[in-house]
Amino acid sequence: MEILDQSAAAAMNAPDQSQPILEVEHLRKIFPVRQLNPLGIKQGVHAVEDASFALYPGRATALVGESGSGKTTVARVLARLYEPTSGVLRFRGDPVKLAGGKSLQTYRRHVQLIFQDPFSSLNPVHTVRYHLGRPLRIYGYAHNAAQEREQALALLNRVSLSPAEQFLEKYPHQLSGGQRQRVAIARALAVRPAVLLADEPVSMLDVSIRLDILNLLLRLKDEERLALLFITHDIASARYFAEDVLVMYAGQMVEGGPTDEVIQQPKHPYTSLLISAAPDPARLTADNLSSAPLPARGEIPSLIRPPSGCRFHPRCPHAMPVCSQRVPQRTDLGNGRWTNCFLYGDGNNLGS
């Protein structure tokens, strides 16, 4: 209920934005762990715990976190590659039926996922034409070979692979990493989606072509008013790419809001840690590497038995007794910003 009010409030704060196209509420995902002892307590990897957010058309949202923070799990649940353990998924306001078959196909017509590694997400024994033709046929956009070819060429032109005729008959091994990722993007666009989930789309690519791909996604976002979820571990590219940012730690969302505000004035201690650890040449002029100690050390804890309360509390320099006892609820900081941290909690938060 509280979340509902907040998303309504967020919509009020940004009146130029239309209704959210894809919403997640209280998403949880627990992966079962295989156990030897049949009588033992059932264990599971608590990959995502109580995630709630919304994607808006024509707006990019970045999901930032370290490996193991659950960001890929979120994307895969949204793409319905995984079934959530609990939680509600809403597409254009309607709850999505969590069943397979026809409804799944309808859902995927609107929501598409781009994978991290273009070297393994394309089938090596098929040409580009096959990769683009399959979704066109399956989703009923092309009914014969001529239509398929025509639309595939249009798709290749949209991702700036020209001359498109030449690329059509190529196999993945004949393409560079950037070209492969463009083909993967074209394949996602083939079903004319409203939501694009990009799971680290540039981290496998060469540094000099990363920006090309990011700029391509930005252009597509503007041209087609796509809602984009951009998953990354690189907070600087999140700032470049996205209007909003969500920070995840060990399966919990810890902070969110407009990207620049979150990066310039992080509220949650984990966000501060993440930003202070990121390489930043501009910092050179102020002080050097060794004189800027990190506020915290260590790594993401085991998610089979995650720390109680706020999962960041064992590493947090500001940890209080309450942090290990209760899970902090979302505190609204105004202007679309929120954080899950007791440091900013009022009595309301503590009481919940």
Partner: protein, 398 residues
């Protein structure tokens, strides 16, 4: 390079001259490293940056002579100035040097009381030494931390055993107790609790495995450590810890580092000097700060401009159009000219040599025709390069 040549040559540790490495492939020879020359000073952190396929890793493996066929070192020399005077150098080659049991202090190089002048120590050409000498040289003087360091540890040996294994091989006269002591010292040095000595690699996190690898590289207090993308597989927070550790260790142990990465923004914080490689050649070399403030080569500018910033105004960035060249058929002239927004007629014809940029007291060298002293045109400013890159990005749809 220009000024105080004396002090420079005295502190030189490694002098790579005109190194060429080719891969002899069936469908053409790949010129992975072409005519690379640089000097590494004592205690210096030299960063090597470039896209994948620019020859950074090949260069590192060539320096340690770890290349296997089809890779061939086809020319050049790698001169290593040993740390002590010739007499000691001989004893070092013959495996019989006494162990230094204290991990936190490097063995003093001037045991005879004379100040060590590297010029007087024999320069060894690493490419010419015999297998026995090479074996003595490696790890004692020259250690390497591999790219996939997380997988470089033996999964069926405990971390301690792997450190002691190095000591057993290179310091046969060391007794088991002092080996164990040294292993404990090393773990403590890199920030791992000594009780992890018996841990197996799978019991350690990625960051700790990386630290363990660095501990093994440090085992014999080498002069030079080559780090090939040591933090690429790690998360930012862990990466930052490892980098802080490297800087800290460098300060206490005074070794030199050749740090290879594609992440230029990381190098800018870490390295004293940075060499930018493109298509097997060094196209620019400068002090880290200088490169950040004033990149000269259009490629360096493009590479710097490929990393979004954390602060400052948000602006559209363009990256570098095109993709790296096929090293079997490197473009004539400057290899970067097909992608360069500032290329002109001479670029596709003549190969620009590495030249000092300015007459000022600067060690920045750049291989670009735009900075030719005889050229009539003014060298481009940062704004010029930005404008040209932008124009190129506008012209071609992303």
């Amino acid at each position: 390079m220009v000024s105080n040549k004396q002090s420079n040559s005295a502190s030189t540790l490694l002098d790579v001259r005109h190194l060429h490495v080719d891969y002899l492939a069936a469908n053409g020879t790949v010129h992975a490293v072409t005519d690379v020359s640089f000097m590494l000073g004592r205690g210096e952190i030299l960063g090597l940056a470039g896209e994948s396929g620019s020859g950074k890793s090949t260069l590192a493996y060539a320096i340690t002579r770890l290349l296997r066929p089809p890779a061939m070192i086809t020319g050049g020399e790698i001169l290593y100035y040993q740390r002590a005077h010739p007499a000691d150098a001989v004893s070092r080659i013959s495996f019989s040097r006494l162990p230094s049991s204290n991990g936190t202090h490097k063995q003093s190089p001037n045991q005879s009381g004379e100040p060590p002048v590297a010029g007087t120590g024999q320069a060894v050409d690493i490419l010419q030494v015999s297998p026995t000498q090479l074996r003595a040289l490696r790890w004692n003087d020259l250690a390497i931390v591999f790219q996939s360091a997380m997988n470089a540890l033996n999964p069926v040996m405990s971390v301690g055993a792997q450190i002691m294994d190095v000591l057993r091989a290179h310091r046969p006269d060391m007794n088991p107790d002092s080996r164990r002591q040294r292993a404990l010292d090393l773990l403590r040095l890199v920030g791992i609790a000594p009780d992890r000595l018996r841990s197996y690699p799978h019991e350690l996190s990625g960051g700790m495995r990386q630290r363990a690898i660095i501990a093994i590289a440090l085992a014999l207090s080498p002069e030079i450590i080559i780090m090939d993308e040591p933090t690429t597989a790690l998360d930012v927070v862990v990466q930052r810890e490892i980098l802080t550790e490297i800087v800290h260790l460098r300060e206490t142990l005074n070794f030199s580092v050749i740090f290879i990465t594609h992440d230029l923004s990381l190098l800018l914080e870490l390295a004293d000097n940075i060499a930018i490689m493109y298509a097997g050649r060094i196209v620019e070399k400068a002090a880290g700060q200088e490169l950040y403030r004033r990149p000269r080569h259009p490629y360096s500018y493009g590479l710097l401009n490929s990393f979004p910033a954390l602060h400052g105004p948000r602006r559209k960035m363009s990256g570098i159009p095109g993709s790296p060249p096929d090293l079997r058929a490197v473009p004539t002239g400057c290899a970067f000219h097909p992608r360069c927004p500032l290329a002109f007629a001479a670029c596709s014809v003549d190969l620009p040599p590495l030249r000092p940029v300015t007459t000022e007291d600067s060690e920045q060298v750049v291989a670009c025709h735009l900075y030719h002293p005889a050229s009539a045109a003014e060298p481009p400013t940062i704004a010029d390069m930005a404008a040209k890159y932008e124009a190129l990005a506008e012209g071609s749809k992303v």
